[in-house]
C-alpha cells in the first residue's frame, strides 16, 4: 500500500488524480481503519489530516462555515453550533462515544456517505452545502444532491470536501433530532429523524417544515411529500397522523442486522410524529389541536 501525507489541497488532488479509484482518503480513520483491518487495504492511502485551514469553525454572516476536518467533539463543544444549529449539535452529542467523537471528523461522516451517518439528516434540514475541490476548480453542492448511494457521492474518486457551509435556520424556528438505536449513543442509528418547523408570524401555521430521514433509504433523504402536505397548515392530530404515515411511505429501508425494513418504517412513523409534535409545541407554544 502506498501512503501519502499531502501538505496542501492541490497536492492531495493531484495524488487522487493519479491514483484514482485505488486511492482512499483518510482523516480521523474511525471507518477507514476498520475497513483496512476487516475488509481490504486500498492500493493507496491519502492522509488529509494535516491539510491546513480545514479545522476552523467560522461565522460568516448568517451561516457557519465548518472545516471538513473539524472533529465531532469540537462541533459539540462549539458554543455557536449549540446556540445557532441545535439540531446539528444534538446529532454531534449523540454521536458514538467520546473516544470516537475526539477522532471522527464532520467531513468524514459526510464523505463516507453512509445512509445512517449521524450528522446527515440534520445537515439536510439545515440546507447545508459542501465546498468541494476538484483539480479543475471548486464547486458548491447542496447536500440534498451530494449523496448518490451508500458510499457514493458527487466527489467520486477525485474530489475533496473542504468545508461545510451551514445556514442558520429562520428565526423562530425549532428543531429536533431523534435517533433510534439499541445501545443508546454508541450504536449506529436504525433510524434518525430530523425535524425543523418555522411558524408563521402569528404562530398559527407551519410556514416551513423540513424533515430529514436517516438510515431508511440508500442515501439520507428529505421527506418532501410530507413537508408539502404540512406546509402552511396548523398541526392537528389528524394531520399529524397522516404526515407520519406519509413519511414512513416515503422511506425505502432495507432489512439488515440492526432491524427489518418493516420495523424501520414503523420507527420512521413514530419518530416523525414525535418530532413534529415536539417542534410544533416548541415553535408555537401550542398543543397539537
Amino acid at each position: 500500500m502506498e501512503y501519502f501525507e499531502p501538505k496542501t489541497v492541490n497536492e492531495a488532488l493531484s495524488v487522487l488524480a493519479e491514483h484514482g479509484a485505488e486511492a482512499k482518503v483518510i482523516a480521523g480513520g474511525t471507518d477507514v481503519m476498520v475497513d483496512i483491518k476487516y475488509k481490504e487495504e486500498p492500493g493507496c492511502l491519502v492522509n488529509i489530516k494535516k491539510l491546513p485551514g480545514m479545522t476552523r469553525i467560522q461565522e460568516n454572516g448568517s451561516s457557519l462555515r465548518i472545516g471538513a476536518l473539524v472533529t465531532i467533539h469540537e462541533l459539540e463543544l462549539n458554543p455557536l453550533v449549540r446556540e445557532k444549529l441545535p439540531v446539528l449539535w444534538e446529532a454531534a452529542h449523540q454521536f458514538a462515544s467520546l473516544q470516537i467523537r475526539n477522532t471522527a471528523t464532520l467531513g468524514g461522516n459526510i464523505c463516507r456517505a453512509s445512509p445512517s451517518g449521524e450528522t446527515l439528516a440534520p445537515l439536510l434540514v439545515l440546507e447545508a452545502k459542501g465546498r468541494l475541490a476538484f483539480s479543475d476548480g471548486e464547486k458548491t453542492e447542496p447536500f440534498t444532491s451530494f449523496f448518490q448511494g451508500p458510499g457514493k457521492s458527487v466527489l467520486g474518486t477525485k474530489g475533496l470536501l473542504t468545508e461545510i457551509d451551514v445556514p442558520y435556520p429562520p428565526s423562530g424556528s425549532k428543531s429536533v433530532y431523534l435517533k433510534h438505536a439499541v445501545r443508546g449513543a454508541m450504536d449506529i442509528a436504525m433510524v434518525g429523524v430530523a425535524v425543523l418547523i418555522t411558524p408563521d408570524g402569528g404562530k398559527n401555521n407551519m410556514q416551513d417544515v423540513r424533515i430529514g430521514l436517516g438510515a431508511v433509504a440508500p442515501t439520507p433523504v428529505r421527506a418532501t411529500k410530507t413537508e408539502a402536505l404540512l406546509r402552511g397548515k396548523p398541526l392537528t392530530a389528524t394531520l399529524l397522523k397522516e404526515a407520519a404515515a406519509l413519511a414512513a411511505s416515503e422511506s425505502s429501508p432495507i432489512s439488515d442486522q440492526r432491524s427489518s425494513a418493516e420495523y424501520r418504517r414503523w420507527i420512521v412513523e413514530a419518530l416523525t410524529r414525535r418530532g413534529l409534535e415536539q417542534t410544533w409545541k416548541a415553535a408555537t407554544g401550542k398543543e397539537v389541536a
Partner: protein
C-alpha cells in the same frame, strides 16, 4: 510502505517505523512491545484500547500509527509513579472494580482523561466519559464507585 514515527509516549521520545496501515494500537503493542493497551473489538466500539492523544481519550485501534507523529500519547503504562499507583488505578483496586481485568486499562485511561478535565464530575459526565468502554463482566456499579473514589482522592491531593 513504511513510515517513520517520531512521537512522545508517556513523556519519553520514541522513534520507530511501521507500515502505513498499522494502527496506533498495533504500533504500541507489536512495535514497541507495550502490551498494556488491549486489543479487543478492533473497530472502535469497546474502548479496551483507549489512550490519551494530545490530552483527549481516543480509540487507538482506529487511529493510524502515522498520526502519532508529533503527538503526545499517554498509555496505561505511564500512569503509575514507580511502584506508586495512580489514584485512579488504586481506586479500581480498592472498590473491586476489576473482574477479568481486560477492559480495565481502557477504563482507567478514560477515567484519567475525565478527571484531568474535572475533579468534580457529575453523574452525567461520568456516564459520558465511560460510555465508550464495555465491561463484559458487567461490573459497572463498582466501576462507577471507583470513579467517585478516585475523584475524592484527587480533590484531596
Amino acid at each position: 510502505m513504511s513510515v517513520t514515527i517520531n512521537t512522545k509516549i508517556n513523556g519519553r521520545a520514541v522513534s520507530a517505523s511501521a507500515d502505513a496501515s498499522t494502527s496506533l494500537l498495533e504500533f504500541l503493542r507489536d512495535t514497541l512491545e507495550m502490551k498494556g493497551s488491549k486489543l479487543c473489538c478492533n473497530t472502535g466500539e469497546c474502548g479496551a484500547c483507549t489512550v490519551i492523544y494530545n490530552g483527549k481519550p481516543i480509540n487507538s485501534c482506529v487511529t493510524m500509527a502515522a498520526d502519532a507523529n508529533g503527538a503526545e500519547i499517554i498509555t496505561i503504562e505511564g500512569l503509575a509513579d514507580g511502584d506508586k499507583l495512580h489514584p485512579v488505578q488504586q481506586a479500581f483496586i480498592d472498590t473491586g472494580a476489576v473482574q477479568c481485568g481486560y477492559c480495565t486499562p481502557g477504563y482507567i485511561i478514560s477515567v484519567k482523561a475525565l478527571l484531568d478535565r474535572t475533579t468534580k464530575p457529575t453523574a452525567e459526565e461520568i456516564e459520558e466519559a465511560v460510555s465508550g468502554n464495555i465491561c463484559r463482566c458487567t461490573g459497572y456499579n463498582k466501576i462507577v464507585d471507583a470513579i467517585h473514589l478516585a475523584a475524592q482522592k484527587l480533590q484531596l491531593r
